[in-house]
Every structure is written in C-alpha cells, then in structure tokens.
C-alpha cells in the first residue's frame, strides 16, 4: 500500500512539473464557453466557431498567437477582469451591469431571441405562456425575462440543450434562446414563434483600460462587418454542421438507434478524445486532491486532537477550527473560483493543479473531522496504558491510536473520497476538461444531452466502484486492528 502511494505521488509530481513549461511567444488569450454553436463549439477536439474566427483575425492584426480557453459562461467576466484572459468572446450581449465590470467592443452580431414551443402547443406569443419557461442560466434571455416578466416562472438550465430537453418532456411550455442555434436544433416536434421576443447584439469584452486591444478589436470587427465577412463565416459554420449530420443514417431499429447515438457521441469527429482527456483529468484531480486532503486533514486533526487532550496550542486550534468551519460552510464552487481568480490572480498556473488545490483543501476540512472523530473513538484506557509504559505522545499516537482510528474511520473516509470524485465535476467552471465538461462539449455538438451523460455516469460509477472495493480490501486487511 505504502509503495503504491509513493509511486502515485511521484507520478503526480512529474505530471505537474511537466505542466509548468514556460512559453516564450506572446499570445492573445480568448476566453469562451464552447457550447454555443455556431459561435463557439468543438470540432476535432478544437474550439472553432464564428467568435474564434473573428478573434483569430484580431490576433493576426496584433501579431499575436491565439490561445483559447473554454470555461463556464459565468466565469468569463472574471477571467477577463483578472487578466487571466485578454478577450472574452462568447456571444455576450451588452448589459449595463456587465459594462461596469469590463469594456465592450462594437457589436459584431445582431441576433434575435426567439420563443420555441412544442409543435402541438397553442401558444402564439409570450403573453399566452401560462406555465414555465426554460432559459440558459446567465444569458440575456434569462435577465430579459426576469426583468420584464417577473410573474413567469423560469427554469434556469446550465445548457440551452437542457432547456430543449425540458421542452420535449413538457416540463416547460416554452424556451427562449438565440435564433441561430434555435433554428439549428429545430425538428418536427417543436416550432419557433414568428415574432422574436427581443433582439440582442453581441460584443466582445476586454478588461477596462486595455484600450490597445479594444481599438484593435473594433477596427477588425468593423472592417469584417462592412465587407460582409462575418455573415460569410456564420454561413460557413452552419454549413459545416450539415455535413456531419448526414454521416449518420437514421433508422427505426432500436439497436441501430442506440448505435447511432453512440457513434455520434463517441466515434464521430474523434469525440472519444474528450472522454479520455476528461477521464484522465478527473482521475488526476481526484487522486491529487485525496492525497492533499489526507495530508492537510491529518495535520488539522492532529492539532485539534492534541489540543483536546492537553489543552495546549490554543490559538492554532482556534485557527484550525475556523478553517474547517469556513471550508465546510461555503460552496466548493466558490472556493474553486476564489483560488483560481483571486489567489492565483493573473499568474499562469496549471489548471489541474488549481483543481487539486481547491478540491484537496475542500476535502481536508471533512477529512480532518473524520480523522478527529476516529482519534477520539480510541479507548482512553489504552492511551493511558501507553503513557504508563513510558511511551511519549508521538509513540502512543503512532503505535496505538492511529492503527485503531484508521480502522474505525475507513468507511467514512471511503465515502468522502467517493464524494470527492464526483465533486470534481465543478472543475468545468474554470475550464478544466474533466468528465462532466467532456460530456457537455460532446452534447453541445450532438444536441443529444443524455447519451454522453449516461456514458460518463457509467465511468464515474466504475471509478467509485473500484474505490469502494479498495476501501473494502483495506478494511479486510485491518480487520485485526
């Protein structure tokens, strides 16, 4: 067991060090959420789309190399504000609140926000909607409806595909979203109402006072608008979608249907690569976080246990308790974002490392309390017998308390690790391509939300199953303790 642990630590450090290579060429970093066809989406494992094509031109104009970061939509403004990325391009609409945080370029796209209903629906305009409406969380449709139709109940989904899924399953009466992707996912079960709800225009965002970039972006955007290039690019991306659609032959046979979904989600366009990357990153983050969580958690538990037994280390104990209370009492998403955007600020840092730190720190608070309860569960009489035999605190802990505590806490520790594995899925917020993000990326291309989700659910299940088997094996070994 010890040897395996050592090996893992070594492998992990090699990986992390190799990720720290320094880059020499000046870059323009574009941040987006690549699940908004045709503006940004994945093809052959790379982020492509209208926004990317325009930013590419801006980068060429400035003689910089383009780098693209794919994060959660909610994180895009933080990315640009903190200087982690230079320009945000993700079909972002101008709002006054956003303009307080960052500067907007001129519009490069004017898009209509349309209402989608089921084909058999009698709804003809927004005023006839009596039930719920699904929108993508944080989009202009979301804020527009919240402000202007406060009486309509909104279902806010992370992905517009989930909105469509809600509509299909009659969980909502309508979906409000951008016209271009809406037209693209239309099938005969749904229709788009003729009158758009409102029109929306997209700009790109840069950090306040970055006038050089703002001016360059505006120059490029206006030139492309005038020459009609942007419309051409939009058309090009819409057509490329049609090509891939034809590769799969539809059929009524259930097995062929399942195979087709599998083909589209996994094989086509090399999409399995996302799953492999996601699997690798999920494992790496979970593993690193478990190790960090155990190390930190043990130190915290020892401080608290030492204080409980001897009444020494009062201040350190207070700090440890405060740390545990704060970490346990706040959402891990927030912790992840604080570590990434505030602690690491504008410095370059390996995303996996950030994930390991955030989840490791989060886990350490839980692990600390689990270990502490384990230490307390060991019979005080045996500890006294150890002292009476002239053993010191360290020896009593090492030979008597720890072996018995570990046996007592293994089930809860195993539980914590299983939770941790699944919790890594929020790494997608800052753009880590782990399993959940991988499935999002695939779904954003196939418009099939469930198949990749079920696929990664099976992978999570396999990981957690192996983990619980390992814990069971250790429990068996420690049976005598």
């Amino acid at each position: 067991m010890k040897r395996i642990f050592k090996l893992l630590v070594i492998m992990l450090s090699i990986f992390l060090l190799s990720g720290c290579e320094t880059e020499t060429k000046d870059k323009l970093t574009m941040v987006t959420e690549a699940g908004f066809y045709p503006y940004e989406y994945y093809s052959n494992g790379e982020v492509v789309g209208v926004d990317r094509d325009i930013v590419k031109r801006i980068a060429e104009y400035l003689d910089l190399e383009l780098e693209i970061k794919d994060v959660h939509f909610d994180s895009i403004i933080s990315e640009v504000k903190s200087g982690k990325s230079d320009i945000g391009a993700a079909g972002i609409s101008y709002t006054e609140e956003r303009a307080l945080e960052v500067d907007f370029t001129d519009n490069y796209i004017v898009s209509n926000q349309v209402i989608i209903v089921r084909n058999d629906s009698l709804i003809n305009n927004i005023d006839e909607v009596s039930g719920k409406i699904a929108v993508q969380l944080g989009t202009t449709a979301d804020s527009y409806l919240s402000e202007n139709y406060p009486n309509i109940e909104l279902i806010r989904e992370n992905k517009f595909l989930a909105c469509i899924e809600d509509l299909r399953q009659s969980k909502v009466d309508a979906v409000v979203m951008d016209e271009v992707p809406a037209k693209n996912i239309m099938d005969n079960t749904m229709r788009i109402l003729e009158e758009p709800l409102f029109s929306d225009s997209y700009g790109m965002i840069v950090a306040k006072d970055n006038t050089t970039l703002l001016n360059a972006a505006n120059a490029v955007i206006n030139k492309m608008k005038e020459s009609g290039e942007i419309d051409a690019i939009l058309l090009k991306h819409l057509e490329s979608k049609e090509e891939t659609k034809e590769e799969v032959k539809e059929s009524n046979n259930i097995f062929v249907k399942i195979y087709n979904r599998f083909y589209r989600s996994v094989i086509l366009d090399g999409r399995y690569k996302f799953i492999i990357t996601g699997f690798k990153n999920t494992l790496l983050i979970a593993l690193g976080a478990v190790i960090l969580g155990i190390l930190l958690g043990t130190i915290l538990a020892l401080i608290r246990n030492f204080h409980d037994n001897t009444n020494k280390l009062k201040i350190l104990n207070k700090l440890a308790k405060l740390y545990i209370d704060i970490i346990r009492g706040t959402p891990s998403t927030l912790q992840l974002m604080i570590i990434y955007y505030i602690i690491f600020g504008s410095s370059e840092v390996n995303m996996i490392l950030v994930g390991i730190m955030a989840f490791g720190i989060n886990s350490s608070a839980y692990v600390a309390e689990i270990i502490r309860s384990g230490l307390q569960s060991v019979d005080k009489g045996q500890i006294e017998a150890g002292y009476a035999l002239s053993l010191n605190y360290r020896q009593v802990m090492t030979y008597i308390v720890f072996p018995q505590a570990i046996k007592n806490i293994l089930p809860s520790l195993g539980n914590e690790f299983i939770t941790l594995v699944k919790e890594t899925s929020i790494g997608a917020y800052i753009g880590i391509v782990e399993l959940t993000k991988a499935s999002d990326i695939i779904a954003s291309r196939t418009y099939d939300y469930f198949f990749p989700l079920i696929l990664i659910a099976i992978i999570y299940l396999i990981i957690t199953f192996i983990l619980s088997q390992l814990v069971a094996l250790m429990e068996k070994r420690l049976k005598n303790a």
């Binding site: 045996q382 006294e384 035999l389 002239s390 008597i400 046996k407 303790a481």
Partner: protein, 241 residues
C-alpha cells in the same frame, strides 16, 4: 523509595486531594481503601502523573517527577495495572508486551521477545502469544497486563482496582500472580475493594476519605482496631456485604 509531599488535586472547583503526605519504602505493599469517590484512584494515578497534581510533589528515589523533564524516565520505573486491563487491541499478546521495552530501547526485539516468552511461560499463557486481546478471558488479559508492566523492570508497581472488572472465578489467578511478584520484593501500591485480599496481602493499609489520609497502619490495626469513626463505619458496611 517514593515520597509524596502535600499532594493536592482539583478538578475545576472540586478539591479531590487535599494535601496528602506519604512515604513508600522499598518492599512496602500498600493497600489503599476508602469509600468510592474518596480520591484513592486519583491519588494512585497522580503517582505516575496520569493525573497531573495541582500542587505538591512526587519524589522517586530522590528525583522529583517533573512533567516537562524526566517524566518518561520515571514512568519507566513505575509500572501500572488498570481495572480495565487496557491491553492494546490492535496488537497480539506478544506485541503488547514487547512494544514499550523495544521502542524505549531497553532491549532489542530478540531479547524482548525471549523475555516476554519466559514471562508468558510463568503464567502458562505462552500458547496465547499470537492471539489478540479480545480472544482472551478477563483473567488472562489482566495477567498479561501485569507482565507487560513487569518487563519494564519497574521499581514500584501501581494496581488500580486490578480485580474489580473480573468474574469471581478469575480473581484468584490474578491475586496469585500478584503474590508471586511480591515474593520477589516488588514495592506495590494497590487500590482495591477486595478487603480480605488487602488485609491478608498488604504490609500497610491507608484509609482515604474526602481527599485526606484518615488513618494508616498495619492491616491488623486498620481492620481489627480502627480508631477513626469513619473507618469503623466503612468497614462495617463492607462486612455487611
């Protein structure tokens, strides 16, 4: 020789020991008796600092026991046996016995194992050396706890109600072992409710009540001709049972 000077112990506001003076000479076998809650266990546990005294001192062979200095050296010379045996549940019988002498570098592992087996043979439990404590009877566990203390070659041994947790038929095997150890001249301090054993076994008896030594003397003096009314009352109650 163990000298106790004006030993006091408070638990919060409660005064458990109110200033105890006692000298224990080499070879003494001292029985401590008294009503429950009188402080006799606290007193015994103060002798090796499992309870840290509020004030006063414990002096072993001229060295005052200091919590931050020589505690472990002196604890090595004071063996202790507990009511609940307190064997280490995660270790075999043999590992229980050799843990402290090996870790404290009193012996190497081979010598410690040899010595442990010699002691186990004496109490007829050699065949249990690879068993875990939970597989043994209370009497067997307590005898192993005694030789676990003995292997440290202590100058003095403390017994905190060593037979109270035992089924009646197992008390004999434990007291028999204690008698054998006494034969070799071991200094002992025993807290017990086994009055007949105390009377028969000890060289001196101390009666503690309400945190003070009320009376002390030979077993005959205490049990046959007690002077203090509290001792008389206590003994009459014990005899009633």
């Amino acid at each position: 020789m163990l000298k106790i000077k004006n030993l006091k112990k408070n638990f919060g506001k409660k005064k458990v020991l109110k200033g105890i003076d006692l000298t224990i000479n080499d070879g003494d076998i001292i029985g401590i008796i008294g009503p429950s809650g009188c402080g006799k266990s606290t007193f015994l546990r103060s002798l090796n600092m499992l309870e840290v005294p509020t004030s006063g001192s414990v002096i072993l062979d001229g060295d005052t026991i200091d919590l931050n200095d020589n505690l472990n050296d002196l604890r090595r010379k004071i063996g202790m046996v507990f009511q609940q045996f307190n064997l280490f549940n995660n270790m075999t019988v043999l590992d229980n016995i050799i843990l402290a002498p090996v870790k404290q570098k009193l012996m190497n592992k081979t010598d410690a194992t040899q010595e442990a087996i010699r002691l186990l043979k004496k109490i007829d439990l050699e065949d249990k050396k690879d068993n875990y404590p939970r597989e043994l009877s209370g009497g067997q566990r307590q005898r192993i706890a005694i030789i676990r203390a003995l292997i440290m070659k202590p100058n003095i041994m403390l017994f905190d109600e060593p037979t109270s947790a035992l089924d009646p038929e197992m008390i004999g095997e434990v007291t028999k072992l204690m008698r054998e150890i006494a034969k070799n001249g071991m200094t002992m301090v025993i807290v017990s409710h086994e009055m007949s054993f105390i009377k028969d076994f000890c060289t001196r008896v101390i009666f503690i009540d309400d945190g003070n030594i009320v009376e002390e003397g030979t077993p005959e003096e205490i049990f046959e001709h007690p002077k203090d009314q509290r001792v008389k009352t206590f003994l009459s109650k014990v005899k009633d049972i």
